[in-house]
């Protein structure tokens, strides 16, 4: 029997309407490419999004068209999030850190009709533009005064484009399952694959995000996404912040210590979002400056496992709660977390730190389970590890224009992560399927060794990879960047690991390096390191 409730769709534009009505003066702060720090409000963003929608109409954009952005985190990018999707078109947030062939590929693959571009990326686009005949025009995200000389064809200045229009717009109503946002995964192999989010998915994800299970946003929160708006929608921050009515601080391209710290300090940022490297970088910066008094209350950290060393450091130096999050582009992206609930804060510190290095529990809406190689569900006993699969209304069911459904067995998303789940529902990623080290037929978790190593005071960053071994097939190799002021001391590290991991998990060698390679989204680029070190043990004669 059908219920008798109104059939009103969930729409992204209503998130901003909510903020513009209830929190009109709440701020959006942006570090701009023009050089200054800019401040606007939800009320103004609502109006400018309407102007943008009218401009799209005059450009001949139709519902369902894909519109690309190549842009940092700024208020103009927020306007694109609402103006384009609210209009009924699809915002395709292009990751400018991809190789230019990949950028060319995805703009073609998405068949983008217009490209909105930040000053930084105009030069790069000029090289690709000749291969993009289907693009009808380029809009540079700046004002007349800062408009560059450019060879881009059909080029507009953003501020001029929207300036003339009325700031009200009759936002259309359509099916909530209509596409709103398109993000390609920054896969390390093969062509990037597109995840096509719906209005429904993004609104439900935003509701979950503001809840205590995930980010726990309130109207007095000050949220700074240090994850890019071109990567998995900045984890949904541009949607969740207006829903919560909180202040949004956007770092633009300034991800270095000084620039970040200035925004945190000046705008009293209390919640930061980002991958572990971002927080490692900030930690190094603050240590260097001798700063311990920070307005931050929480850093919400996903995209990679949370190392115990950093969890502890953020608590001990800054009294900041390190909140782990698990998710991927295919999952909204936020799916699980360990928020600082009263229960968790009441635990003895060491027990709490333990939970802060898991990936946390599933938010309402996300079902998760682990499966063995035979497709059988495994017990949630904290011991059994298997491939993590997830299900829910903001999880990808198929890649954009891809027939291959091999990542979606039985209507679940197979994540490629190997995980355990404990009886309390806490999930821990043991490894990426492709990073796990197969030694003598058994698995060694690179993440667990990294986590342990991170706790030695000498260690600034660590990375474990599997390299060739004639007898055991693969053996772990540990790469270390030391903290300033520490000597590289192999023996001390081996002593530290001893007894904390099984003997046969002990890395066959430890190498001290100055740098570790990361992906554009801040993850360790392990396949690059594997290529480099693959024969290391053999060449060094360390295989006996």
């Amino acid at each position: 029997m059908q219920a008798l409730m109104m059939d009103t769709p969930l729409r992204i534009i209503d998130l901003l309407r909510h903020a513009a009505t209830n929190y009109p003066q709440q701020q959006i702060i942006s570090r701009r490419q023009e050089g200054d720090i800019h401040s606007t409000t939800y009320a103004a963003t609502w109006k400018r999004s309407a102007q943008l929608a009218r401009a799209l109409q005059d450009l001949g954009v139709r519902q369902g068209d894909c519109i690309a952005s190549l842009a940092w985190n700024t208020y103009r990018h927020v306007e694109l999030y609402y103006g384009v999707s609210g209009y009924g078109a699809v915002l395709h947030t292009v990751n400018p850190r991809l190789f230019s062939e990949q950028i060319e590929y995805i703009i073609q693959h998405a068949d983008d009709s217009y490209v909105f571009v930040d000053l930084d990326f105009v030069g790069m686009l000029e090289h690709i533009a000749p291969q993009l005949p289907h693009v009808k025009g380029y809009i540079v995200l700046t004002d007349r005064q800062h408009m560059p000389e450019t060879s881009l064809p059909d080029v507009h200045c953003y501020e001029d484009l929207i300036a003339g229009y009325s700031d009200t717009y009759a936002w259309p109503e359509f099916d909530e399952n209509q596409a709103a946002l398109l993000c390609y995964t920054s896969g390390t192999t093969g062509n990037p694959k597109g995840v096509l989010y719906s209005h429904r998915a993004m609104v439900l994800h935003a509701q979950a995000t503001v809840s205590e299970s995930l980010l726990g946003l309130r109207s007095h929160s000050v949220l700074m996404p240090m994850v890019a708006m071109y990567h998995a929608g900045a984890w949904g921050a541009p949607y969740a912040a207006p829903l919560a009515g909180c202040k949004l601080v956007l770092p633009g391209s300034g991800m270095q210590g000084d620039a970040v710290w200035e925004l945190i300090r000046e705008h009293k940022v209390d919640i930061g979002l980002g991958v572990p490297t971002v927080w490692l970088t900030l930690h190094n910066y603050l240590q260097n400056k001798g700063i311990t008094d920070v307005p931050l209350q929480r850093v919400c950290v996903g995209g990679a496992a949370s190392p115990m060393g950093l969890v502890r450091a953020y608590h001990e130096y800054y009294n900041v709660y390190w909140q782990p999050i698990w998710g991927m582009t295919e999952t909204g992206p936020l799916a699980t977390s360990t928020p600082p609930t009263a229960d968790i804060m009441a635990l003895p510190l060491e027990q709490r730190f333990e939970l802060q290095t898991t990936a946390g529990r599933a938010a309402f809406g996300v079902e998760m389970d682990i499966f063995d190689a035979e497709n059988q569900p495994l017990p949630h006993d904290g011991e059994s590890s298997g491939e993590l699969r997830v299900r829910g209304p903001w999880i990808c069911s198929q890649y954009f224009k891809h027939e291959d459904l091999s990542s979606f067995p039985d209507g679940w998303l197979a994540t490629g992560d190997i995980a355990v789940i404990n009886p309390q529902g806490y999930m821990r990623v043991v490894d990426r399927k492709k990073d796990v080290i197969k030694s003598g037929g058994e698995w060694i978790s690179s993440l667990e060794i990294e986590d342990l190593a991170s706790q030695h005071p000498m260690v600034n960053e660590s990375c474990v990879i599997g390299v060739k071994h004639p007898k055991w097939d693969e053996r772990p190799l540990l790469l270390i960047i030391t903290n300033p002021g520490y000597e590289a001391d192999k023996q001390s590290l081996y002593d530290f690991l001893k007894g904390k991991i099984a003997k046969w998990w002990t890395p066959d060698d430890i190498i001290f390096v100055d740098q570790l390679p990361h992906t554009g989204t801040g993850k360790l680029l392990k396949n690059k390191l594997r290529d480099q070190y693959i024969n290391y043990l053999i060449e060094q004669g360390k295989t006996t």
Copy 2:
């Protein structure tokens, strides 16, 4: 273009699954009709709901069947909320305070196949049962030991019924727009009308309810709904509490001062839900006992306007925030509120109290507007008053088995409330359309006069009605219950009102009474008073 997200439905049962997985040991406390205070957990409720679903299956219940409950707020009623709706049937929560002819009417109208009944209501049902041949059986919500002698046909004992079954169940998946819950409005005229809620509506309503805009529930909250689970789903508390993972305290039938205070004190209730009379009763009780130190932090108050006197009293005596809510059975029911956000708590006290007597701002998902008699939208200027209309995914689109759509103009719900909306989005109900006093062609708001009168220290409760006047058509009459220890002093009250309202709004007489009649859901029964006093001014010769 359709997005590529999973098509997983929003289901009520997943709210309880979430609690059972993430907060398994969180408590549900109930005052039982058996006489004791009972404690259970979400984990146990999850299991017993599964047993109930299996029992329904064996009783031959099919998806879409209506199942009635006549029950107080207890854990067994919570099991019905999940077991029945999760199974795919519709829980029809019957208001036992309706006249028995109305109860008979709605059980027939809904075509309920089974009736679950608390001990208290068995006697009443015995009288109606002969008129309910379509009911296949009656289940008394108790255990073997407390099972009464009864003439009810096909009677079962609840605990015996579910006892034998396995405590796991493969909850079915179905369209999220399927009906889950049926509540009839306790209209003061005509037959009650049914509102048929969907799974989607109740899940979205629960998400909004836990957000800061409405109840702001966290996992450490202790929520006590003093509004009945047979009235608009106890404002969704049985759904929102598991979603938030918070403790739920259910007062059973014990709504008197002692019983309520015992639960609040023993279980450290910090958030209460109820109509103003409930909080007036508690206030009188606490005053009487000389208690001011209470664990409550907030009382969330809807169903009638929030009188300034009580807002202030709760602040001054108990340091409790009085949080006004607006809603009706047709709206989920929660739609608007003024929660204690950081912004609001930073206001000067008098300004804050002002906002606490409005109905607040709309939660995300609810659109609201005011319209004049010609169907034209009115400005949100805080001055223009018109009929309030609302729209959204948890708002009724039609009454159950009613063709008449006159309450649903242009896809909106016409609420029957006269309201103003100010530029900041705060809504204030000026009156019920039917309670507004028409004096000489102009409107007088009974609610505003009541609100003012409530602020005089002499006044415990006040009520304004319009009664016949030969010249002005209608004139206001003010009825007062005084506070203990105060003399009934008309002149003092007239002096108090003077200058605070327009002269022509001044009530033509003030009458001191010992009692005021209320509906079963705690609202002033104004039509009864109007009948009684309709010729009062004429009879008393007060019409010159």
